[in-house]
């Protein structure tokens, strides 16, 4: 197995993305190590093929945004919007992440081994997000589809105006947002959650989690809901 190392200090962001997007030669099945990330933005974005990318160090905004197929690991912390609009593949962050992790992600898996800041999973559309630690306020705001799993605690207004996404929290939920309610876990959801935890490499028992989702009361405009708008 050959591993290609890309030093960002020497190559720069433009060359990195060109390489990983396969614009300078085949990439499918490749292994890449990216060094000297140094908080740079938009690293490893818009990838379209299966490959393994390990980024050494902290990354800035939108790392691994809009990817398909690829497996990207950040060995460090990630800035705003890590894995935003992820389509498929996996993104793993070994540290903590800033706001809007996995925002509007449509597929794939985002694993955050540490904690995530505010708006984790905002407008998520099918992505699965597993957070080893806790998440900040307004997470899963307007979440449409997919699963947000939190092994620690969740900040205020969790799942505000949620559509059909599911949220699982093991710790304390500071408060639920409008139209978000606790739901029965049920066998199927628990089994699915256990499989997801295993896939994410997180040692946790699905039965210790509580499940939250939409009460579906705000799906239509009505005078009775005026206070929630």
């Amino acid at each position: 197995m050959t591993v290609e190392t890309i030093d960002l200090d020497a190559a720069g962001v433009r060359a990195l993305n060109r390489r990983l997007q396969g614009r300078d030669g085949p990439v499918a099945g490749g292994h890449f190590i990216v060094t000297n990330a140094k908080g740079r933005h938009a690293l490893a974005v818009g990838l379209t093929e299966a490959m393994d990318v390990r980024i050494r160090g902290h990354v800035g905004y939108y790392c691994a945004g809009m990817n398909r197929e690829a497996d990207v690991t950040v060995e460090g912390n990630a800035g705003t919007g890590v894995a935003e609009n992820l389509m498929s593949g996996t993104v793993r962050v070994t540290g903590d992440t800033s706001q809007s992790a996995g925002a509007s992600g449509r597929g794939g898996l985002l694993v955050i081994e540490g904690s995530a800041s505010a708006r984790c999973g905002i407008t998520m559309k099918g992505i699965d997000i597993v957070v080893g630690g806790s998440i900040g306020h307004m997470s899963a705001f307007m979440a449409q589809a997919g699963r947000l799993v939190v092994c620690g605690d969740a900040g205020a207004y969790l799942g505000d105006s949620i559509y059909e996404a599911e949220i699982f929290v093991r710790g304390r939920v500071e408060s639920l947002g409008a139209d978000c309610v606790e739901k029965d876990m049920g066998e199927r959801a628990a089994d699915g959650l256990q499989t997801l935890l295993e896939r994410a490499g997180v040692a946790a028992d699905a039965r210790e989690f509580r499940r939250y989702g939409s009460a579906r009361q705000l799906y239509n405009f009505r005078v009775d809901n005026a206070a929630a708008y």
Binding site: A42, Y61, Q99, S161, E164, F221
Partner: protein
């Protein structure tokens, strides 16, 4: 006799205000409707051209050239958009519009060598195929947002706001959220869909800079990136969009149409297109990028005169929404009983939000949609765009210009004090520009 004590009309409570109070008391929710501001605001109608005569000479109509082409996005994009005319079709979502309407707009625009734009709901393959040049919108909702669509688009438009609702989010009422629309947006069908007013992963100009960098990285720095704002604090917003790295800025004035928005937004938020053009040009000039960063203006553009006036005030191109729908028979006197069933009549309809569009433009109902033949619609849009272009050229030639972009504020006079102040051109018959010493 009107005006006597018992029948005079009430200035503070005209009939539409009384009827809105009755509706509000009945329903307890704000009123949501389509189209743009219906109240009178200072507009391009308040300006006239000073055709050439002895002091300046005109060009011969039809004989001497008057070019209309425009290039958008050469600032950073390696593949800028080349348009044959400075009139584009604005972003209108599939969902708000029928698939036939989207296709017709694509066919008509392509026949004239100009662009169309996707909307809040993502790209359909029908519109990609029908549109020679297609601008892909990245909106706060990110409905249907797909990097593959970014890659097959010709330009990218980051939508921060719209003239109909600066600061407001999207709406699509349940009657229009059919299975296909719902699936594209990853939502349950039939719900009253509200979309966010802020992007999920950025706020403010510094974040926007990085967002634009990401979009460029994903698309190999090939495609022009536009930033669209509703007209409010236009001078600041345009300056910040330029600083954030936009190739082009779209400024949408308060008259700008919508498919469904709270009426209080449509009528009471934002400034008219007329002053917005001037403020935008000020910002571009201040930064030394006028003509390098293109300015696309929208909101209430209906005629070739409107186009020419927007260009004369410094815009590089215009964009049209409602008027393009009218070319597709919006508000045309057809299917009268269906207008009546909606409680309206041709010329007074703004009921796009109902999904019961009598002429098949803003509907997802297959029976209504079938009333709009996309090929015939495409022909009508082409004809309309062609008319606008000819009108604009005629006015430019009359002012002695060999390119429509050579029109300038000095070619204009204002008919009202308000328009003179907002457009900063002299009140007709004077050399007075209010606010200037």
């Amino acid at each position: 006799m009107s005006g006597d004590r018992t029948t005079r009309s009430w200035a503070s409570f005209p009939p539409h205000v009384i009827s809105e109070i009755h509706r509000a008391a009945d329903q307890g929710l704000y009123y949501i409707r389509g189209s743009g501001a219906w109240r009178a605001v200072p507009s391009f109608d308040d300006l006239v051209f000073l055709g050439a005569s002895v002091s300046r000479y005109p060009l011969e109509g039809y004989r001497e050239r008057c070019d209309t082409d425009v290039t958008i996005g050469a600032r950073y994009a390696s593949k800028p958009v080349e348009l044959k005319i400075p009139i584009t079709i604005a972003g209108m979502s599939f969902g708000a519009l029928s698939a036939n309407a989207k296709r017709a707009l694509g066919l008509g625009a392509s026949a004239m060598g100009t662009s169309t734009t996707t909307g809040d709901g993502g790209m359909t393959m029908e519109e990609r195929e029908a549109s020679q040049t297609l601008v892909y919108q990245v909106l706060p909702s990110r409905y249907g947002m797909d990097p593959d669509h970014l890659r097959i688009a010709d330009a990218i438009e980051v939508v921060v706001g719209q003239g109909a609702k600066p600061g407001g989010g999207g709406m699509l009422l349940g009657q229009k959220v059919t299975e296909r629309v719902a699936e594209m947006r990853t939502l349950p069908s039939g719900i009253d869909q509200r979309s966010a007013c802020r992007h999920p992963d950025w706020t403010g100009p510094d974040d926007l800079t990085i967002k634009i960098q990401e979009l460029r990285e994903v698309t190999n720095w090939e495609k022009p990136v536009y930033v669209k704002v509703g007209a409010t604090r236009t001078q600041y917003d345009v300056a910040l969009a330029v600083k954030a790295g936009a190739d082009a800025v779209v400024v949408d004035g308060m008259q700008g149409g919508t498919a469904a928005t709270q009426e209080v937004f449509i009528e009471d938020v934002g400034i008219p297109t007329l002053p917005a053009v001037r403020l935008a040009v000020d910002a571009l000039k201040e930064l030394g990028v006028h003509r390098e960063v293109q300015l696309i203006v929208s909101g209430g553009i209906r005629t070739g005169a409107d186009v020419a006036k927007a260009l004369a005030l410094g815009a590089d191109a215009v964009s049209i929404g409602m008027a393009a729908l009218m070319a597709l028979n919006c508000n045309a006197p057809l299917y009268l009983e269906d207008y009546e069933a909606l409680g309206t009549h041709p010329g007074a309809c703004n009921l796009c939000q109902t999904g019961r569009c009598p002429v098949g433009v803003t509907t997802q109902d297959p029976v209504l949609e079938a009333r709009l033949d996309p090929e015939e619609g495409g022909r009508r849009v082409r004809n309309y765009l062609s008319t606008l272009t000819m009108e604009c050229q005629t006015l430019a030639r009359a002012c002695g210009k060999s390119h429509v972009h050579n029109l300038e504020p000095e070619d204009l006079a204002a008919l009202t004090v308000e328009a003179a102040a907002m457009a900063r051109v002299p009140l007709a018959g004077t050399d007075w520009i209010p606010g200037r010493a």
